[in-house]
Each structure stands twice: as structure tokens, then as C-alpha cells.
Symmetry: C2
Subunit: 341 residues, 2 copies
């Protein structure tokens, strides 16, 4: 898909958002072969200057008149509307689009990719678009894949604890501002969510369908099946927003097809690239959002056999939603596409 070059021109649509800023850091950290960088955002952020790989890059306003001449790869993490408009336009004009929205994920001619799990799906990108999963799906499939390969996965019950950065930079500001206001005995202003998030929990991510599921819960089930190539995998999710700034955590109960001891599960997970088994509860070692913030790996701990069902297993999975859950996964996909040339 990408012609072999010594370096590539990358466009970031949504460059000043929480994921966009993380993407810049990751391009720098990984020394991504950049020949140029085009940063796009809304009018409000246009003109800002951001640095990456020892250069300064000016943010441009994204408009229908924006030219993408010379752009090889576009990373989109903005609104669904922007993904819909620019994803199609750029994908059909020869730019490789790596999209972070829910717009394309379930389309059969768009691969949905976590490189460690299903990089092979990148072989077919007829629309020039590859989608990255929801930031909750990615760590889940990273933890399920080695179990699926070892003994098969029959059913998953997942409960998520999602940080406010999954909503974006404004929600992070809102958690901090609400917290400050409440500590000063002032009312908390509510904008990013339907209710106060500081010192509270919202069992509501996305919109509700008629059956009472959140869109986030539906996404996790559908995307997990697509990525794992397991269309009949049984999965139910409950998604909850928690007053944490970064990292999504997940309590995952798995019913496996065949027996797997906790130690065997630890070994299988430890062999999975991008996963770190962090599991020694007697020494109080278990994954926490605070420790996983800024890390690339998906942390798995609290690995326990669950005797309430044959071949049951419990896991606790924590991952930085802005890194592996979004920006890092997108950059890794770009690296895979380049390496394939």
C-alpha cells in the first residue's frame, strides 16, 4: 500500500487532541522515518506550534479546501464526522488512512488491526483505510489472543473502568476542575458528561440502544470478534467511566474451551508481545492506572482460576488508553505497513 521510501510525510487530523499530542510523542520516541509532518485541527487550535523530532510544526486549520498533496499516511483521531469525510476522501486518493473512529471499524473491506494480534489483516486494504479498535477493545484482545491460541475462548464477561482521557483533553480538564471546585466547596460544573465525574462513577459510555446496552459495550463485543476472527465468540460488557485521568482497566472473566491453570495462563500471556504479566499479589504487585500511565505495554495481573465455571479464569488488565489504546497502535500499524514494503 505504501511505496518504499526512506521517509514518509504523515498528516495528523486532530493533532491538538489528547491522542494527537500522544501521537507526536510516539513518532519522536520511535524515531519514525518522517520526511514531513502536517498537523490539522479545528480553527480554534490553528496556528499553535508543536514540536516533534527536533522540529517545530505549525497546526493548520482543517477545511474542505485543505490540500494533502505529498501526504503518504494520515492518522485520524478527531470526530466521527471528520473520519467519515476525510477518511473516505484520503483513502480513495492514495493516502494510507489509519483511523481511530468507530466509522469504519466494522466495515468488511476495512481491516481492524492490533498488530500483535492480527497484522495479517493489513494485507487487504482495498479502500486505503485501516481502522484501529476502541481503546477498550485493544487491551482486551491483547489479553485474550494468547488464551485463544492456547485453549480457545468460549465466553467473556468484561467490566471496564475507563479513564476520562478516553473522552479527550476537555474531559481531563473537567475532572481536574470539578475536583478543585468540590474541594473548595464550590459546585462542580458539568459539561463533558451528563453528570459530575469527580468522586463519582458513570455506568454510561456512548449512547444507549433499545436493549439498554451502551454503544461502547456493543463496540467491544463486535470489535473483539472481528479482530480475533471469532464471529461466534460470546461476550458481554459493562462499561463504566471512573475518575481516573489515564489508563483503562478491565476486570475480565473468561470461560475457556479447555482447561488452563493460572500458571499456564501466566506463561501464555507472558509470551505475548506487548503484554507484561504483573502478577504477584502476595507482594502487592498488580496493575494500576497510575503505574501504566505513559507505558506502551498492556499490563495483566490478578490472574486467577475461577471455579464457578469449568475452565474459568479471571484477569485484571490495565493499559494506557492514549498509547496502546490509540496513538501507539496507530503508529505501530504505520510501521507494519512500511516494513511490509
Amino acid at each position: 500500500m505504501i511505496k518504499k521510501k526512506p521517509a514518509y510525510t504523515v498528516a495528523i487530523l486532530g493533532a491538538t487532541g489528547a491522542v494527537g499530542k500522544e501521537t507526536l510523542e510516539i513518532l519522536e520516541e520511535r524515531n519514525f522515518p518522517l520526511s514531513g509532518l502536517r498537523l490539522f485541527a479545528s480553527k480554534r487550535s490553528a496556528g499553535e506550534v508543536l514540536s516533534c523530532q527536533d522540529k517545530e510544526w505549525k497546526v493548520e486549520e482543517l477545511t474542505s479546501a485543505s490540500s494533502f498533496a505529498g501526504v503518504d499516511i494520515a492518522l485520524i483521531s478527531a470526530t466521527d464526522d471528520i473520519s467519515r469525510e476525510y477518511g473516505r476522501r484520503l483513502g480513495s486518493s492514495g493516502v494510507v488512512v489509519i483511523d481511530d473512529s468507530g466509522v469504519f471499524r466494522m466495515e468488511p473491506d476495512v481491516p481492524l488491526v492490533v498488530p500483535e494480534v492480527n497484522a495479517g489483516a493489513l494485507a487487504s486494504m482495498p479502500r486505503g483505510i485501516v481502522a484501529i479498535p476502541n481503546c477498550t477493545t485493544t487491551p482486551l484482545v491483547m489479553a485474550l489472543k494468547p488464551l485463544q491460541d492456547a485453549v480457545g475462548v468460549k465466553r467473556v464477561v468484561v467490566t471496564t473502568f475507563q479513564s476520562v482521557s478516553g473522552t479527550g483533553a476537555a474531559a481531563m480538564d473537567e475532572l481536574m476542575t470539578q475536583t478543585k471546585d468540590l474541594l473548595a466547596f464550590r459546585d462542580a460544573k458539568v459539561e463533558a458528561y451528563p453528570y459530575q465525574i469527580a468522586f463519582n462513577l458513570l455506568p454510561h459510555i456512548g449512547s444507549f440502544n433499545e436493549g439498554g446496552d451502551c454503544s461502547e459495550e456493543v463496540k467491544i463485543a463486535r470489535e473483539t470478534r472481528k479482530i480475533l476472527g471469532a464471529p461466534s465468540l460470546r461476550l458481554t460488557a459493562t462499561t463504566v467511566r471512573v475518575p481516573v485521568l489515564r489508563c483503562h482497566s478491565e476486570a475480565v472473566n473468561v470461560e475457556l474451551e479447555r482447561p488452563l491453570k493460572a500458571n499456564e495462563a501466566r506463561a501464555a500471556l507472558a509470551g505475548m508481545p506487548g503484554v507484561i504479566v504483573y502478577d504477584d499479589p502476595a507482594k502487592k504487585l498488580y496493575p494500576m492506572p497510575l503505574d501504566a500511565t505513559g507505558k506502551d505495554e498492556v499490563y495483566v495481573g490478578r490472574i486467577r482460576e475461577d471455579e464457578s465455571v469449568p475452565n474459568g479464569l479471571n484477569l485484571w488488565v490495565v493499559s494506557d488508553n492514549l498509547r496502546k489504546g490509540a496513538a501507539l497502535n496507530a503508529v505501530q500499524i504505520a510501521e507494519c505497513l512500511i516494513a511490509a514494503q
Copy 2:
């Protein structure tokens, strides 16, 4: 067990703790027939004056020399050691002991009671002791009971989101202090928990056993079976401390014995005394800790059929851990015992 009287002398052991203070409020709100009140705490709190039912009551230091002459009912919510020592001593000397610790809950000759669920168990109190469940178990059995009665409960996967008040007043202070310090860019002091709780999650409540379960997870399973009179009920739990001040929340996945539509589940739950069904997600109505704080009822929402298993159901349960989870349940038990005379 309790002789019929116009009013009773109640002792509170642990009167200045989070549960003790809530108990005083509840005795007042419910106009409990008090002829006297004895408030006990550690030396540090002795001499404090607390008010209840328009009177002031001085806190006494609890020592092995403390006299309980004239006390009819003792409510204990302190440490396991205090429950062990005073629970036995008072129970065997004719005082009715209502104990909030884990010391007696699983003893076969001690009833473990949530009045709406199994008040009948109060008929046999050979040791003069009745135990109240863990603050996470109580709302869970309140939600499971009507489902058990309607169609039977086969298996439960529960993930908890537990507030810091479950640990006590010092942990509530620590969450506030850590939050203030972090907002002021100071380090967070860690005392109540192994790690910072502000803006973080700890998948660790109690101590770990060899299989990697927390004691809290083990308690929920054992206590739920005892209260529901269902020794073979299959249940697995993952318990997580969250940066919330009050109320415990639980994502509950239930596999029922026979089919039950979401609407039938709503009707069954709505008919359960002490439960409020708060479930209209299209109108953004679902239980949250913020709303349930200070409330007596157990709130159940997000009631959804789970198609990943035959007869599956998802629930989201929120309850004030200091009220129904502790102080209220204890006072309700005292009221039951009085009414039975």
C-alpha cells in the same frame, strides 16, 4: 432474645468511626426507642461528645474494665479484635450483639442477616450474636434475592467498585488529602492503602490467599451463599477500590436457572423491599454513587438481557456502604428483634 420494653439501652462499639457516626444518625432518623446510649471508642476519641435524639452523649474509652450493665443491644463496628473480644463476652452475658466484622459471619451458630432477605434466620441466635454481611455482599443479595425467588440463580460474576469509606474515616480523609496534594503538585502521602488511591484504582481489598483471591472476594461468595441459603451457588468476584468517597457499586452478571426478560427482572426487583429500580438509560437515569449517598435503598439499573449465555442478565447495583451496607442494616436487625417480641 430481647425482653419487651418500652425502650432499650444501646451500646455502640466504634462510635466515632464512619459506621458509628452513621449509626447515630440512623437511630435518630428512625426514632429508635432508646432509653440510653453508651458510646465506646479508643482512648484517642474518648471524651468527645456526640448528639443523638436531642441529647448529648459522651464517648467512653473501651477497655476490658468497661461495664455494660443495663445494655440491651450492642452494635459493634470496630476492629476484628474488638469484635472477637467483646462480641463473645457480651453475647454470652445476655446482651444482643449485632456485629459488623468478619469474625462471626461464617460461624454456623451465628445468623448472617439482611432483614429483607432472611429475617427468619434471627429466630436462632444461640450465642446472642447476629452478624451483618460485608458492605458489598448486602446490596448484592438484595438484588439477587428477587431473581432467585423468581427463576433461580445459577452463577454470578460480580465486579465491585468500592468507595474509600468502606475502609473507614481515615481513608476518606486520605483520599481528600491526596487529591488536594496532587492538585497542588505535591506528592501524595500513602497510609491507608498500599498505593495512592486518588485518581487511581486498586484491585485489592483485604488480603490475598494462595489462589490469588482477595479476602473480600472470598467473603462475597461465602456470605452470599449463606444468606441466600444456596450453598452451591456459583459466584466469582473481582473487588476494586475506586476514588469515590461513599457508596459501593457493582457490575453483576447473572446466569439464571430459567428465562427472565429484562422487564420481568425489573418488575421482580421493583417488588423487593429496600430496592429501587432506577433504570431508564434513554433518559440517562442509572444509579451513581453521587445520587445514592445518604440513601437507605439499594439502587439497581442498567438491567439488560445478556445474550452471551442462556438466561443471562446484567445489573448495575449501587448502595451506600455506610447505610444499608453497614449501620442501617444493623439497626434494621435491632428493629426486627424488638418487633419479634
